[in-house]
C-alpha cells in the first residue's frame, strides 16, 4: 500500500506532464493532418476556424484520429458487445495475447536451450552464433506465410503456427542474453566449482543458471514485446481471422483509421501488461538479491 503510493507520487506527476505534452501535440497534429480532407469533404464552403477544429477532432475517417475518439471507440467495443464477440476488442486482445504468451514460453525454452548448447559446445559457439544473428535479419513478414502454409500442410493450425512465429522473434534476445549470462559467473566462482569437481549439470544448476537470471529477465521483457509483434505479423497474412493483427489489417482494408489506432493502442497496452507480468515474476524471483 505504502509502496504503491510512493510509486504513484514519484511517477504520477512526471508522467502526467509528459503525457500532457504528448496529448497537446497530438491534438495539434490532428488538426494539421486532417484539415485538408475536412475542408474538401466535410465542411460547408463558408467554414470558420472553430468549425474546422471541431471537425478535425471528430472526423469519421480521419488521417489521424484524436485520443478521445480512440478511447471512445475502445470503450464502445468493450461495452456494447459480449467479450466472446469478434466486435469486442478484448476478444482480439485475448486471441493475440494467448498466442504471444505461448510463443514466448516456446521462445524461452528454445532460447535457453540454444544458449546452453552454445556455452557448452565449442563447435556451436564458433559456428552457430553468427547464423542465429543472420536468422534475425530474415524478415518475419516474408516467412510468416510460408511457415503458416507449411505448418498447415502438416495439419497444425490455429494458435500454434502464430506462436511459432512469435517464438522465432522471442528466442533471439533470450539466446544472446543467456549466452552472456551463463558466462557471467566470475572466474573465481567457476574455479570454485572446478575444485569441487562439480558435474556440468551441477555447475549449471547451482552457479550458471542463477548467475544468468539478471540477464534473462531484461531479455524476457524485450522478447515478450517482440513475441507480441510476431504474433500480430502472423495474424496479418491470415487476414480475417481473429486477433489484433487482423484488426489492423481489416481496419486498413476498410479504410477505418479508428479501428487501426484502437488496435494499436490495445496492442501497446497488452505489450505493457505482458512486460509488466515479466517484471512481477522478476521481482518475485530476485527478491532475495540486492538491487545494485
Amino acid at each position: 500500500m505504502n509502496i504503491s503510493l510512493g510509486v504513484a507520487k514519484r511517477y504520477g506527476i512526471p508522467m502526467t506532464v509528459v503525457l500532457g505534452i504528448v496529448f497537446i501535440l497530438w491534438y495539434a497534429l490532428a488538426i494539421a493532418m486532417n484539415a485538408q480532407a475536412v475542408i474538401a469533404r466535410v465542411l460547408p464552403s463558408d467554414w470558420s476556424v472553430s468549425q474546422l477544429v471541431v471537425a478535425c477532432w471528430n472526423m469519421s475517417r480521419p488521417v489521424l484520429p484524436t485520443p478521445h475518439q480512440i478511447i471512445i471507440d475502445i470503450f464502445n467495443s468493450m461495452t456494447q458487445w459480449p467479450v466472446s464477440s469478434p466486435r469486442n476488442i478484448l476478444y482480439h486482445a485475448w486471441v493475440t495475447g494467448e498466442a504471444a504468451l505461448t510463443g514466448f514460453v516456446m521462445g524461452c525454452i528454445l532460447g535457453i536451450a540454444l544458449a546452453v548448447i552454445i556455452v557448452h559446445s565449442k563447435m556451436l559457439d564458433r559456428a552457430l552464433l553468427p547464423w542465429i544473428v543472420a536468422s534475425q535479419t530474415i524478415p518475419v513478414l516474408a516467412i510468416a506465410p510460408i511457415v503458416l502454409v507449411i505448418l498447415g500442410s502438416l495439419g497444425v493450425t490455429g494458435l500454434f503456427p502464430k506462436a511459432v512465429i512469435a517464438m522465432y522473434l522471442c528466442f533471439f534476445p533470450i539466446t544472446l542474453a543467456m549466452v552472456q549470462g551463463l558466462r557471467a559467473p566470475p572466474k573465481l566462482q567457476m574455479e570454485l566449482c572446478h575444485t569441487y569437481a562439480m558435474t556440468p549439470l551441477d555447475t549449471f544448476r547451482l552457479l550458471r543458471f542463477p548467475s544468468s537470471l539478471p540477464y534473462l529477465f531484461p531479455a524476457c521483457r524485450v522478447a515478450i514485446a517482440a513475441g507480441l509483434v510476431g504474433t500480430m505479423v502472423a495474424e496479418l497474412p491470415t487476414g480475417a481471422q481473429a486477433g489484433l493483427g487482423a484488426r489492423l489489417l481489416v481496419g486498413s482494408y476498410y479504410g477505418n483509421t479508428l479501428m487501426i489506432w484502437s488496435a494499436l493502442v490495445v496492442a501497446s497496452l497488452l505489450g505493457l501488461s505482458l512486460t509488466g507480468l515479466v517484471s512481477v515474476v522478476e521481482y518475485w524471483v530476485m527478491r532475495t538479491r540486492r538491487i545494485a
Binding site: A127, I138, V140, L141, I146, R183, V233, L264, S268, L270
Partner: protein
C-alpha cells in the same frame, strides 16, 4: 593422459548408419538385378566407411582433421550422385544421409578443437552454413518438396546470379537509403535524448514508461500509417525505423549511464569533478557496452522494419517489394534470393558493429577474454 576423444558418439552412430546402408544396398543389389548402379552405391558405402574409420583412429591435428573434412566432402558429393540414380530414393539412401550428416558434424567438431589461430571463425561459420545448406538441398530434392513451398539452395543461388542487377537496385533502395538514414537518425536521437534527460529524474520518470509503451507498439501497425503520412518512397520507411530504434537507443543509453560503479562515481565526486567531466571521463565510456548492445539489436530491427514497411506500399523497387511481389508470383527462388541479400546486408552491418565494439570497449571483461 585422458584418451577420451570428442565426438565418440558421432563416430559410433555414423559407423552404424554406414553399415546399415551398406548391407541394405548389397541386399538390394542381390535381389533386384535390374539395378545397375551397384558399384556406385557400394563405392559410396566403402568411402564413407573408410572416412569414419579414419576419423576414429586419427589424432586431432591440423592435417588429419583436414583429411576427415575432405573425406566427408567427397562422401557428400557421391551421395548426391547416388540419389540422382533412383526415383524414388531407396531406404538405404537415407541411412547414408544420416551417416554423412553425422560425419559432417564430427568433422566440424574436430575443426573446433583446433587452436583458434589455425581455423578462423569465418571458416567455421561458413562450413557450418554449407552443411546446413547441403541438408536443405538433399531434403528438398529427394523428399520432393514443391518449389513453391521451399526452393533448393542451388535454385536460390541461380536466382541470385540471374537477377543480380535487380537485387542491387533493391539493396540500394532499402538498405542504402531507408535503413542507413533511419538507423543513424533514430540511434543518434535516442543517444542524445538519453544523455539529455539523464540529468533530470523528473523527465526520466515521465519518459521511460512512455518509452516502454511505445516500444510495444508493433511496427506492422505503424508502417501503414507511415506510408499514409510520408509517402511511398524510402522516407516513410526511414520514419518507421527512427521510431522503432529511438527508444531502444534511449533506454540503453540511460541504463549505460546508470551502470557506473558506485565507487567510481564517488571517486569523481570526491574530486569535485563537474557533470560534463564526469560524463566524458567516466559515464560515457562505461555506457559504451550498453550503447553498442542497442546498436546491434537495432541493426537487425532496422532492416526488418524497412522490409516490412515496404509491404504496405512502395515504389516498384526495394527488398520488401521484391519479396512480396515475387512471393505472390510464386517465384520462390527470387523471394529467397532477396531474403539472402537482406540477411547478408544485416550480418555485415552486425559484423561491422561487433568490430567497432571490440575497438571501443576493449576493456570490457567479456571482450578482454577473447
Amino acid at each position: 593422459m585422458n584418451n577420451y576423444k570428442p565426438g565418440t558418439l558421432f563416430i559410433v552412430l555414423s559407423f552404424i548408419f554406414t553399415l546399415l546402408g551398406l548391407t541394405q544396398s548389397v541386399v538390394l543389389n542381390l535381389t533386384d538385378l535390374s539395378i545397375h548402379s551397384d558399384h556406385n552405391t557400394l563405392l559410396l558405402g566403402g568411402f564413407l566407411l573408410a572416412t569414419v574409420v579414419y576419423s576414429c583412429v586419427s589424432p586431432i591435428h591440423f592435417k588429419h582433421v583436414l583429411v576427415t573434412q575432405l573425406g566427408t566432402f567427397i562422401s557428400a558429393y557421391l551421395l548426391i550422385h547416388t540419389g540422382a540414380l533412383f526415383s524414388p530414393v531407396p531406404a538405404f539412401f537415407w541411412f547414408y544421409v544420416l551417416a554423412v550428416v553425422l560425419l559432417a558434424n564430427l568433422s566440424l567438431k574436430y575443426l573446433a578443437e583446433l587452436p583458434d589461430r589455425q581455423i578462423p571463425q569465418l571458416v567455421m561459420t561458413a562450413l557450418f552454413g554449407f552443411w546446413c545448406l547441403y541438408v536443405w538441398q538433399l531434403s528438398v530434392t529427394f523428399l520432393h518438396v514443391p518449389q513453391v513451398l521451399l526452393p533448393t539452395p542451388t535454385a536460390i543461388a541461380g536466382a541470385l546470379a540471374t537477377h543480380s542487377a535487380m537485387l542491387w537496385g533493391d539493396f540500394v533502395q532499402t538498405v542504402v537509403k531507408a535503413v542507413v538514414a533511419g538507423y543513424l537518425l533514430g540511434n543518434g536521437l535516442g543517444i542524445v535524448t538519453g544523455i539529455l534527460i539523464e540529468r533530470s529524474p523528473f523527465l526520466q520518470r515521465g519518459f521511460l514508461p512512455l518509452a516502454n509503451l511505445t516500444s510495444t507498439i508493433p511496427l506492422v501497425g505503424i508502417a501503414p500509417i507511415a506510408v499514409m503520412w510520408f509517402g511511398f518512397d524510402w522516407p516513410s520507411k526511414a520514419a518507421v525505423i527512427v521510431l522503432v530504434t529511438y527508444f531502444p537507443a534511449l533506454v540503453s543509453t540511460l541504463a549505460g549511464l546508470h551502470s557506473t560503479n558506485k565507487l567510481e562515481g564517488e571517486l569523481m565526486y570526491s574530486y569535485g569533478a563537474n557533470y560534463w567531466v564526469t560524463l566524458k571521463m567516466l559515464r560515457l565510456p562505461a555506457a559504451m557496452p550498453f550503447i553498442f548492445n542497442a546498436l546491434k539489436v537495432n541493426s537487425a530491427l532496422a532492416l526488418i522494419t524497412a522490409i516490412v514497411a515496404e509491404y504496405f506500399g512502395s515504389p516498384t523497387v526495394g527488398l520488401g517489394f521484391r519479396i512480396s511481389v515475387e512471393a505472390a508470383r510464386m517465384h520462390m527462388p527470387i523471394v529467397w534470393s532477396a531474403i539472402v541479400v537482406a540477411s547478408v546486408a544485416g550480418s555485415l552491418i552486425y559484423a561491422v558493429l561487433v568490430y567497432l565494439e571490440r575497438r571501443v570497449t576493449f576493456w570490457h571483461p567479456a571482450i578482454r577474454k577473447a
